[in-house]
């Protein structure tokens, strides 16, 4: 019988009226990889922040190695061997890896022998766990995947026996995810205990040996990973059974309504990111664009929606030319022509998070009737409209006057989606529609996209989630290094084929 290295008993935490953690009991066994899974807002991150000393629980006890401890700040947690890698990294960008790691200890380390010793220890850690980090490189030169490793190294160097990772794969490319998992496995083999917070079932099945499921602030189940399956976990997470594969009717495609010819686009640094791309999308069809992040998808979407200038090539909407290198319609004019765009990054582009929900629900359409008449905003109609679509799209809470940043990620996404779909666009460009969105909302969003397709919209779906592309698309193209490297009908393609195309192998 293995002994629990970390034991939580009756943890409670509330923020105002929100009871984020209710009577949580959790045992994490030494030397395991323990997954904690739940929808966004289920209370996973709050719970782990309590363990890491960022928040204090309202009640309950925490035991490490059977000894009750009092965690008042992250310092206490570090002393007790708990390390955490946050979703957003805590690194100084213009410092080197070494400088970042000794930050806070530099008094003892900066000079003389101690620094040499620290370097040696760090090198040993890197070798043992195959982290492969150059201690002298500057953080800003490192990719996201490497930055994450620096965070892991930092925790290890400070003596972490329990390593908590909060949604570690959200920012990584598929290859980086594989690398990370390798590292985590090797850490585990060396006896470290790993706690993985995620909402991705596939990661739980891949990596963990035990799993705990949270739902609405409560712990709803513990099990050994090998005794369960995706469907069962998904059901526990949302409290009902979910369809992982969508039911889709047969395609009844119409004419080509959106056509891209020989499109080339540069990024802000004048680097060509999209190279001679050709696309055709018919009415009633979802064209999936698969690819590893950073292969030109972002620039392509921006060019198609009028945000970014076209370097060469042409874009046609409904048979009429809307953009080439000389003339192009701006996003507003394209909207009027029936093109809607759900951008990849909702916080950076899709929303003004400081705005109230109703202000975001008319964003980009705010100058149209009935929202504004002779440039004066029609408050009553806007609120009525907002209430209506918030209900229709099940945005929670249904309060148009709430500041948008107070909505969860999934509900923010629904705000954007409802705004863009409500206009019944002829062409819909969708980027990462379910990034950081919980499983219940994913299902809802997917269903809406299928409905749009069935009503005859031409949809371009850009996603890094291969599952999403596979389950929604009628046709799939793969983008690699700015070029379209393959096109497949969805009925005769496998993950493997697409994966090879995405990696640029074929």
């Amino acid at each position: 019988m293995v002994s629990p290295i970390l034991e939580l008993t009756n943890i409670n935490k509330s923020f105002g009226h929100v009871h984020a953690n209710k009577n949580i009991n959790l045992k994490i066994n030494k030397g395991t990889i323990h997954g904690i899974i739940g929808e966004n807002g289920a209370g996973k991150s709050t719970l782990m922040s309590i363990v890491f000393g960022l928040y204090q629980a309202n009640s309950g006890t925490i035991k490490v190695n059977g000894k009750e401890i009092n965690l008042r700040s992250p310092k206490d947690s570090i002393i007790n061997g708990i390390g955490m890698v946050h979703q957003h990294f805590m690194l100084v960008e213009n410092f080197t890896v070494l400088e970042n790691i000794i930050l806070g200890f530099e008094g003892e380390l900066v000079f003389g022998k101690n620094l040499e010793k620290a370097k040696k220890d760090l090198k040993n850690l890197c070798d043992t766990y195959k982290l492969n980090i150059d201690l002298n490189s500057t953080i800003s030169d490192l990719s996201v995947g490497f930055r994450q490793r620096v965070e892991i190294l930092k925790s290890l160097y400070r003596g972490a026996e329990i390593l908590i990772l909060d949604e570690p794969t959200g920012v990584l490319t598929p290859q980086e995810v594989d690398e990370l998992f390798k590292i985590l496995r090797s850490l585990n083999e060396e006896g470290k205990t790993i706690v993985l917070i995620t909402h991705k079932l596939i990661e739980i099945m891949d990596l963990t040996s035990e799993v705990s499921v949270m739902r609405q602030g409560e712990m709803v189940g513990h099990t050994k990973t090998k005794d369960t399956n995706k469907e069962q976990l998904a059901e526990m997470m949302v409290g009902r059974s979910v369809l992982l594969r969508l039911e889709k009717s047969q395609v009844k495609t119409g004419d080509v309504v959106f056509k891209v010819e020989d499109l080339t686009v540069k990024d802000d640094l004048d680097v060509i990111r999209v190279k001679n791309v050709n696309l055709n999308i018919r009415a009633g069809e979802i064209l999936g664009l698969a690819g590893v992040t950073g292969n030109g998808q972002t620039e392509l979407l921006e060019a198609l929606s009028g945000i970014r200038k076209v370097e060469s090539g042409e874009i046609y909407l409904d048979g009429k030319k809307v953009s080439d290198s000389q003339n192009f319609l701006d996003p507003r004019e394209l909207k009027e022509k029936g093109l809607a765009h759900v951008p990849e990054d909702r916080q950076r582009m899709g929303l003004v998070t400081d705005f109230k929900a109703y202000e975001n629900l008319i964003f980009g359409y705010h100058d149209q009737k009935p929202f504004s008449k002779s440039s004066i905003l029609n408050h009553r109609d806007i609120i009525a409209h907002s209430k209506k679509i918030m209900e229709e799209y099940d945005v929670r809470p249904q309060s148009p006057n709430l500041i948008t940043s107070n909505f969860s990620g999934g509900n923010q996404q629904k705000i954007i989606l409802s705004r863009e779909l409500n206009e019944n666009p002829k062409v819909l460009l969708v980027g990462q529609p379910t990034r950081g969105v919980d499983i219940g909302a994913i299902e809802f969003i997917h269903q809406r996209l299928i409905d749009m397709r069935d009503r005859g919209a031409a949809i371009l779906l850009v996603s890094v989630e291969l599952d999403e592309v596979l389950s929604l698309s009628d046709r799939i193209v793969v983008m690699f290094d700015g070029k379209i490297v393959g096109e497949k009908e969805n009925n005769n393609v496998t993950d493997r084929e697409l994966g090879l195309l995405m990696a640029g192998v074929v």
């Binding site: 960022l54 765009h341 705010h366």
Partner: protein
């Protein structure tokens, strides 16, 4: 470290209690200054209150200062909603005054109310034009408005001195000022109104520009929160990327916001030229443009907050001069320091105690909710 969940903080804590505590702290520190200078701080407070409220002319002076601070505070606030720090209120007000004078003197053949209307428009157009150049440079070249507007304050001051000395000086006088406007064009003053009701009071600079300031406040509220332009300006200010995505032009909105801001600052010229001096006097903006920044910050860039903040600074200006009269150890500069302390606490150090205060109230309220 505990963090405050912003959405749980009641509006009256962040908008009333926090500014009030900052103000009390500032007054406390100012009191220390006065004490060190060898005077009784409580006596100073009494004098401030007496000076600004105690007699009718004193109160009129307070409202006159309030008028100027409303204009410059609103000016800063409008630009700030587009995340532009318009530090150039001073220069825009100066040039706005030039607009008032040139219009009034050149259209004096028209009926007086029409001259007034045109003069107000002149103030707005000249102030806006002076703000347009930094705005254009910001929008097209990315030259930061903080830098350019400060430089434009100096350019405005030099330009006006040049004009007042060499071009539009009243040649019958020695001072750097223009000739006076015809008397029928002068704005009715508070004195004139009092006389209508048979009350005789002594001179004060308060005039109907005060009503213009209130109208401007309503205009700003309506513009920022009720129109498409305000909506677009705020969108650009909060998230430029998202604005571009929604087809809102940052270029256009930076220019619109700065021009409206400059126009509002220009209105200060209406109060000073039509209402008080009746001519352009060198240096008439007298720092109101800068104090307006503090007023806007303290009023949280909302007209409803700017009004009391402007009034508070009005009290300090007027009450402060009363103190310097009666207390030999307190000089005029001492009160500049007091204003500085208030600006420091309510502007620069605004967030110094905010988390603690908000936390305190949030915990208190939770405690009550549970009990």
């Amino acid at each position: 470290m505990a963090t405050v969940d912003k959405s749980k903080v009641p509006w009256w804590v962040s908008n009333l209690i926090v500014p009030l505590i900052n103000l009390i702290l500032a007054l406390f520190v100012s009191g220390l200054f006065i004490f060190i200078a060898g005077e009784n701080p409580f006596e100073a407070v009494r004098l401030i209150i007496y000076g600004s409220f105690g007699y009718i002319e004193g109160f009129a002076y307070t409202l006159y200062y309030t008028t100027n601070f409303i204009f410059t505070g609103l000016a800063f606030a409008v630009a700030f909603h587009c995340r532009l720090f318009n530090i150039g209120g001073e220069g825009q007000a100066y040039i706005g005054g030039l607009g008032v004078f040139l219009v009034a003197i050149n259209f004096s053949f028209l009926p007086v109310p029409i001259v007034w209307l045109l003069a107000v428009m002149g103030a707005v157009v000249f102030g806006a034009a002076w703000a347009f150049i930094p705005a254009y440079l910001q929008a097209t070249r990315g030259s930061h408005v903080v830098i350019t507007t400060i430089m434009f304050n100096f350019i405005a001051a030099s330009l006006m001195v040049f004009l007042l000395v060499d071009i539009i000086r009243d040649t019958t006088q020695m001072g750097p000022h223009t000739i006076a406007l015809p008397e029928e064009q002068w704005f009715p003053s508070f004195e004139d109104f009092a006389a209508l009701f048979g009350i005789k009071i002594r001179y004060s600079p308060l005039n109907i520009s005060f009503l213009l300031a209130i109208a401007a406040s309503v205009f700003v509220w309506f513009l920022v929160w009720k129109t498409r332009w305000g909506y677009e300006m705020r969108a650009v200010g909060h998230n430029t990327q998202a604005a571009i995505y929604a087809g809102i032009s940052p270029y256009k909105n930076i220019i619109i916001a700065m021009c409206i801001s400059g126009g509002l600052a220009g209105l200060l010229g209406v109060n000073e030229i039509l209402g008080v001096h009746h001519k352009i006097v060198a240096g008439f903006p007298a720092g109101y443009g800068f104090t307006g920044i503090a007023v806007a910050l303290m009023g949280r860039n909302h007209p409803i907050g700017i009004f009391p903040a402007a009034f508070l600074f009005g009290i300090l200006y007027q009450g402060g001069s009363e103190v310097t009269f009666d207390m030999p150890n307190i000089t005029r500069y001492m009160f500049v320091a007091v204003q500085g302390v208030i600006i420091l606490f309510s502007g620069a150090l605004e967030n110094l105690f905010r988390p603690q205060i908000e936390n305190f109230f949030v915990n208190r309220l939770n405690f009550k909710a549970k009990a």
